[in-house]
Symmetry: D2
């Protein structure tokens, strides 16, 4: 597994982290904050695992398969939670989370096969 092969997944994780953090900051400014408690919490969870996965891929961690699988699960859960809201930043978050989940599952499976 070379660093070039990780590049797409790293990019997807960065976009996902960005979308989640934008949604986090935007949610905290919303008038209807009351509804967004769980969304705010999940956005942070997702941003944190993405940051962790990016670092792990760039340092070619021997645990990339497990870390990316966990990242995919958290991304999917965050996409589900974001799907409960019509807000633009939540909708953008869904797309970024699902793309990231796909990319992470591909890496996870590719690395597991090579191991």
């Amino acid at each position: 597994m070379t660093r070039i092969q990780y590049q797409d997944c790293i990019d997807s994780c960065l976009k996902c982290m960005n979308a989640c953090n934008v949604s986090y900051v935007s949610s905290l400014k919303e008038y209807d904050l009351e509804q967004l408690r769980e969304c705010i919490r999940m956005d942070r969870e997702c941003a944190d695992i993405c940051a962790y996965a990016i670092q792990a891929m760039t340092r070619q961690s021997p645990f990339v398969a497990d870390i990316c699988r966990l990242c995919a699960e958290i991304c999917e859960a965050t996409a589900r939670e974001s799907g409960r809201y019509k807000l633009t930043h939540c909708q953008e978050c869904i797309n970024a989370c699902l793309k990231c989940a796909d990319a992470c599952r591909q890496i996870s499976e590719a690395v597991a096969i090579l191991a």
Copy 2:
């Protein structure tokens, strides 16, 4: 799951992160550095997942079960790697890693049962 119940595991993770980072820094000063390549790499991996697990527990992450399971696996792998060396900081690392792995597995199972 209250924060009090996480306290032992948080303490074990902190001790493990500390032991791993001490072993990392100490390894980089060793005369016989040549032998310690993989030890250095694993020490960093283990310190990073411990830091991540500590944050996740203190913020009562809904993903604590998965995160602590991953932490346990990385701790066990780091203990195995450290077991290849007679150096004091490696031996201290084994103990801290195994205690942390135990504590993380307990949390992981307790949270999974409650879920």
Copy 3:
């Protein structure tokens, strides 16, 4: 600077991270969420720099003086923000933040003198 000398500051940072994350989670459950937007945001900021400072101290980072100074500033800002609320978790956060800020400034100055 040995690791023993960092121990008090590491403990203060851990307590502060814990208090901030507890306040973060608790704030997101409050009825009066509306008032707590900035508190939630600062709690996360403070927890993140504390996590970063803990890792830096355990790995004896050559940048500990700067990192701990930054941590002290963020802790003080978080204490000020928390001071605007009467909630128990906010009051506990103030104490933990101020103790952590003190411990970080002491480390920062001690390391700067030794450098």
Copy 4:
């Protein structure tokens, strides 16, 4: 300060984190490991602050000015350390670190002016 304005700096930080982690992993595989002790240590320091700065920018942290200034300092120190080696990954690290330092100083000054 909108998220678009951070984009260049986020990209520079990601490239720098990648270059540092590649240099870290590559150094640990070098025959002449003996000479690279300090390089390995600095690569990790730099990757960690870059990861932290990226997260801070994407969540529009109120402390971006200070965090990016610290990131610039660590990048510059890592570039100086990498300058002691002729290895390709060290030379690539210098470029990435200096570009990241520039981008971080620009953000730091822009944010400070706006504050």
